[in-house]
């Protein structure tokens, strides 16, 4: 098909799939741990803690791979917030999602080989990948190896502070995941985003 763009090479697609599976696994096991009870709401505590640890370690390595590959291949260029008028374009993107999409307005952003992400994607991915992911990974390792954590922070158990930060960061990531999945259906035909991240090809003609 003419005009289709090859945006996501195999390595990124595999990385993305692995990231998605691990984060979903971490959310399910994390909720099971947070709401642990004799009658588990999702998974038994023992199963949850084992798999949460395994998923967490794998996610850390996957994230390390992302960092290394981002520098080596130059993939991080897609995350760079470019001026001019970034905030204006960000506002337009948000406005489109809030109102424009119902009025049949044209999508304010057009994917290209040099600009994969719209301004809202950029800023949200930036916060997720460079702030909340590092927080959740570092605190996760702290909980996995409690001896590494300061014994007392602000007069309470260092583990307690670490866990609260871990839970809050994890919760923000889980909210991001839900919104991310939904917004991938906005501005194009249902299921096209899934096709794009599965095949690597983006079809501009399918833009809603």
């Amino acid at each position: 098909m003419s005009g289709k763009l090859y945006l996501y090479p195999g390595s990124i697609r595999i990385w993305h799939l692995l990231n998605a599976v691990l984060i979903i696994g971490l959310i399910i096991t994390g909720v099971s741990l947070q709401y642990a009870a004799k009658d588990p709401i999702l998974l038994p505590f023992r199963v949850s803690i084992t798999w949460h640890n395994i998923f967490g370690v794998l996610l850390s390595f996957n994230y390390a791979l992302y960092l290394i590959a981002g520098f080596v291949t130059g993939n991080f260029r897609f995350y760079i917030i470019r001026q001019p008028r970034f905030w204006h374009r960000l506002f337009r993107q948000a406005r489109y999602y809030a109102f424009g999409v119902f009025r049949g307005e044209e999508h304010p952003f057009h994917v290209s080989e040099t600009e994969k992400f719209n301004p809202l994607q950029k800023i949200s991915y930036w916060f997720v990948m460079f702030i909340f992911m590092p927080i959740v990974i570092v605190t996760g390792w702290g909980l996995l190896y409690p001896d590494l954590v300061a014994h007392v922070i602000f007069g309470v158990s260092g583990l307690h502070v670490t866990d609260i930060v871990h839970i809050i960061a994890g919760f923000i990531l889980s909210i991001f995941l839900v919104v991310h999945i939904y917004l991938c259906t906005v501005g194009m035909k249902w299921g096209d985003a899934i096709k794009t991240i599965s095949t690597g090809y983006h079809h501009p003609l399918n833009d809603d």
Binding site: Q34, A37, R46, V101, L143, S157, H160, S174
Partner: protein
């Protein structure tokens, strides 16, 4: 063969001092559980001049009357009393002769004296209204159902865990939970981490604690944050500390017994600190939230729970409304 005689600056006649002790004991004897009870210098002096003169040291010396040689011998470990520990123990106001045969006042001791039966807890604490609140009879009944009871014929008794010369109430007399954990676990480890003492009461092979607990995640953190008792006893609200010690295969292995909002730690380690279910900051089992501990699953915060459910709910609601509006706008 002539018996050796005590070589002491004050001579064996000093043992006569023991005759003055009953009066002191009468005043102090029934207050042994009270940490605030002072130990008089007279008692310390009397004990030291008498028994502790030798039994506070790791050796004793005497003159062999036959050879007239000065002989120095190593004191058996079980006969060594550490005065500092004794005078902070529950029995600190007792004199030696209060529990031990008066014939021990004579030195060298008659070898047959070591065969005299020793007091057990209930000999003093049982059937006495003064101790009724502590329910020693129920404690003993629990002990008799414990895995340790079967070792009685091998010499296991209350004293095997609660050394009368050192034991002091820890859990309900301190706010330092870490110190209580270390103190109570040291009691268990004095046998289970010491093959020499372990084999005094059983021919079984002493299990390697690290290996037998290898299933436990964050093993060292658990060992320093809870007592062995937390998992190896059956909770009994009637007595202050559960004494029905369970064998390994019957011990708690279900994580959520502790790691849940209904944590059993509130009925065991923290039962003396349990005041309210949530602290002022909204943490379930707030008493578990301190400088020393944090229990995943047991300390979730009610405010964070509500906030997360509200935020997640609003997110899903917003998405639902968005989907509906998209469908409506498409039909138009």
């Amino acid at each position: 063969m002539a018996r050796p005689t005590l070589r002491s600056t004050s001579g064996y006649r000093s043992w006569i001092l023991l005759t003055t002790l009953p009066a002191l004991l009468f005043a102090a004897g029934t207050q042994g559980q009270d940490d605030s009870t002072p130990v008089t210098e007279e008692l310390k002096q009397a004990n030291h001049t008498a028994c502790l003169h030798c039994h506070s040291k790791k050796y004793f010396s005497f003159v062999n009357a036959m050879t007239e040689d000065s002989v120095k011998k190593r004191m058996c470990d079980t006969y060594v009393i550490t005065p500092e520990k004794y005078y902070r123990s529950n029995h600190k106001t007792f004199s030696c002769a209060d529990c031990h045969d008066a014939a021990f006042e004579v030195y060298p001791h008659d070898p047959e004296l070591r065969l005299t039966p020793k007091y057990e807890c209930l000999d003093c604490h049982g059937g006495d209204e003064y101790w009724a609140d502590y329910k020693f009879e129920e404690i003993y009944a629990e002990y008799e159902e414990s895995v340790h009871a079967g070792l009685y014929d091998n010499g296991f008794s209350c004293w095997s865990c609660h050394d009368p010369h050192e034991y002091h109430i820890s859990a309900r007399n301190t706010e330092n939970i870490k110190a209580t954990i270390a103190y109570d676990n040291a009691i268990c480890l004095s046998c289970h981490g010491n093959i020499d003492k372990y084999q005094l009461v059983t021919a079984q092979e002493n299990p390697d604690i690290m290996t037998s607990h290898s299933w436990l995640p964050n093993q060292s953190l658990h060992f320093s944050s809870v007592r062995c008792l937390e998992c190896h006893t059956e909770v009994n609200d009637n007595i202050l500390v559960a004494h029905k010690i369970l064998p390994g295969d019957k011990a708690v292995k279900n994580c959520v017994e502790c790691h849940s909002s209904e944590s059993r730690l509130l009925e065991t380690l923290y039962r003396f600190e349990k005041k309210e279910k949530r602290s002022q900051f909204g943490f379930y089992n707030g008493v578990l939230v301190n400088e020393n501990s944090y229990v995943i699953g047991a300390n979730r915060n009610i405010f964070l729970n509500v906030a997360s459910i509200v935020i997640f709910g609003f997110t899903l609601l917003a998405i639902f409304i968005h989907i509906v509006l998209r469908l409506i706008s498409k039909k138009k």
